[in-house]
Symmetry: C2
């Protein structure tokens, strides 16, 4: 058996980022840049006013000065002339500061009498002026390569005048479920059978992480049938299986794929839930085999598939981030397998996170998994812990804003 960290490292080693594609700015949200974004213009393009008021020459604009208003410069309609001594130009937020002016007197610090404006405060050189290039200059990198684009990034890329962006192609993940006992929701359920829950949960996870999911038809428990379905994964960036990676006599996936030339890298990991886990390669296509048990499949997907999707998307493939939390209830000592306990999160009186493991950790309990806010990380041989002890958790809830703001 190998450790979770080693398994993850081996999986990542076997994966490459997808190639680039050009997409419209409006479609680029959540995509990962395959090239840096370089500003195509300077922002602001010229010195502009930060406020509504009057553009004045500061050398000639002490408190009490009455300046003649020689024009107006709405945003987008620069004043063409020059502001001389004793003169001012009406100006608005974002307007270009006209030649000859080097300060802005705030509208609320002035009074207007016909074509004169009287300053109540002395104008200070540079005051209320945004300098050309203060935000960015043409030729500067404004967004790095390998960044997942947020809404703010799209605003920045737009401001830098990019109607198109070059991003990594979404990784295509073909999902293969097998089993004579499996029905899809709403289909006739065979005697003793169950409704398949893994396929669509995994597909949603793939899409949530920026991938494209190809849901293959369920394969019957028959080597030839499984191999035939797996053939349809050709051209995918990954074939994801659930079930069939274990030692059971009826786990046929490995055997079926072996006939097609599957090179298996490993298949037993010291973890719970989800010991059987397979990684290999079927021709050019990496194969990740998750356990069939729905809870094990989802925990395995969070630990291994999400970093894999990150790596394929052009990111680093970091493990799911762990956060410190206090235990709400004691935990028993752990055995030799890393454990990922389904838990609820709350807050203590200081606002700190409190994680309380569900009493029932049976790996078939999908409802407990769906209700869980976090997985408590238990290292192999971790000692028993009292309530109040600090642990690390992987948060499953959404602790912040919707992703990609």
């Amino acid at each position: 058996m190998i450790s979770v960290a080693e398994a993850r490292a081996r999986i990542l080693d076997g994966l490459n980022p997808t190639g680039p594609e050009t997409v419209a700015l409006a479609e680029a949200h959540g995509r990962v840049t395959a090239r840096p974004v370089i500003a195509r213009l300077t922002q602001p393009p010229a010195d502009v006013s930060a406020m509504d008021g009057y553009a004045v020459p500061s050398a000639d604009a002490p408190a009490g000065a009455a300046l003649r208003v020689i024009g107006s410069a709405p945003a987008g309609r620069p004043f063409a002339g020059r502001v001389g001594p004793g003169e001012a130009v009406r100006i608005f937020t974002g307007s270009v500061v006209p030649e000859g002016a080097d300060a802005v007197a705030l509208q609320e610090d002035t009074s207007r009498e016909d074509d004169r404006v009287i300053l109540r405060e002395s104008a200070i050189t540079g005051r209320h002026i945004r300098r050309a290039g203060q935000d960015f200059r043409a030729g500067e990198q404004v967004i790095a390569q390998g960044r997942r684009l947020t809404a703010r990034d799209l605003g920045l890329a737009a401001a830098a005048n990019h109607p198109w962006l070059t991003v990594h192609r979404r990784p295509r993940v073909a999902i293969l479920a097998t089993g004579d006992e499996i029905a899809l929701p709403g289909e006739p359920i065979p005697p003793g059978g169950i409704v398949s829950s893994n396929t669509h949960a995994l597909a949603a996870l793939v899409r949530a992480a920026g991938g494209e999911a190809l849901v293959l038809p369920v394969a019957r428990d028959d080597r030839a049938a499984i191999a035939a379905v797996a053939d349809w994964a050709a051209g995918a960036d990954m074939l994801l299986t659930s079930g069939g990676a274990s030692v059971g006599e009826h786990d046929l996936v490995q055997a079926a794929l072996a006939e097609r030339g599957l090179a298996v890298d490993f298949w037993r990991i010291a973890m719970r839930p989800g010991k059987p886990l397979m990684f290999g390669r079927l021709g050019a296509v990496p194969v990740l085999g998750l356990p069939g048990n729905p809870v094990s499949a989802m925990v395995g997907a969070i630990l291994f598939l999400l970093p894999a999707l990150g790596r394929m998307s052009g990111l680093s493939g970091d493990p799911p981030p762990a956060t410190p939390a206090r235990l709400g209830a004691p935990l028993r000592a752990n055995d030799h397998r890393a454990d990922f306990l389904r838990a609820r999160l709350g807050r203590d009186s200081d606002g700190g996170l409190v994680a309380t493991a569900f009493e029932r950790q049976d790996s078939a309990m999908l409802r407990v998994l769906a209700e869980a806010d976090a997985l408590i990380l238990r290292a192999p041989h971790a000692p028993a812990l009292e309530a109040g002890a600090m642990v690390e958790v992987i948060r499953l809830d959404t602790p912040g804003l919707p992703a990609g703001c």
Copy 2:
């Protein structure tokens, strides 16, 4: 001027959740349930084995017993007969436990000799058996109404045999940008003009929060033109404008919409960036008017639009969650306006969050906004703070897993 909290409360008061629609399970990820999901079957449907091994009658299966293996029950193919005294049935994870058996002897705790299995451990009643209904029973609610569906929820809904789910329709937000000085990326830029960054940043935010964005053509600075474009928002759940909600002589949006019967609810909020903010109603369509300045627009969108989208989506419309962090650098005392300082996040040696405000907080600096990991919340009249003091931040980065795992 009114407070941020009051403004948000008034906006939420003016909004309703969208109606329900029926979508395929595979399309329901991230959608908010409009009805609870009730299990259509019992899971497991019968007592099933939690492990690979042998189903045995515990009364007749002490350590050392040699039981006759009378059959096999692969998952999905239940054993039809009854297990009598001195008998066992080969069983696998997920297989129905046959009649007469009430325990499972683990495969690794047995040895096999022809048609006999020899137990090395005594079988214990109920051991390694998942009881019928342990996960859920037909008729039980497995997912509440008003929940944003995660990948795990989809797995649960699938297991509960729902091929279709009833969710709130995505709120439709029509986005109106105005300004003679504005060009879209890649289009000719007028003299003194800038490239519009708000529209697509806001559209991405709307989509990230589960809404549908309708990007209206940019309206020129002309009342009739603005009103004509705004008419195309009919049927939207919200008209979102950026710019034109201020006092400037050239802010025409309010004037233009007033001619169409806009009822304005308020428009000045004690906050920075982004004081001018308008909420009203144009016929049946709520109108949210964000500032034109890109940083103010995005901060306003995070504070007001995201909760509004939540409310329209069938959620509660909670304010963006705040997290405690330690200051990485001192802050000056605040004035009468709530401030939202763009900041970087790091970690201290204890793993606690450290927030350091960018030196330049100019509300036109889109690059600083895009690079920010958080907004530091500064209440009106908040005192000066030393480095190390605790503050609250709204995280803009993605601290956890991709949303919706």
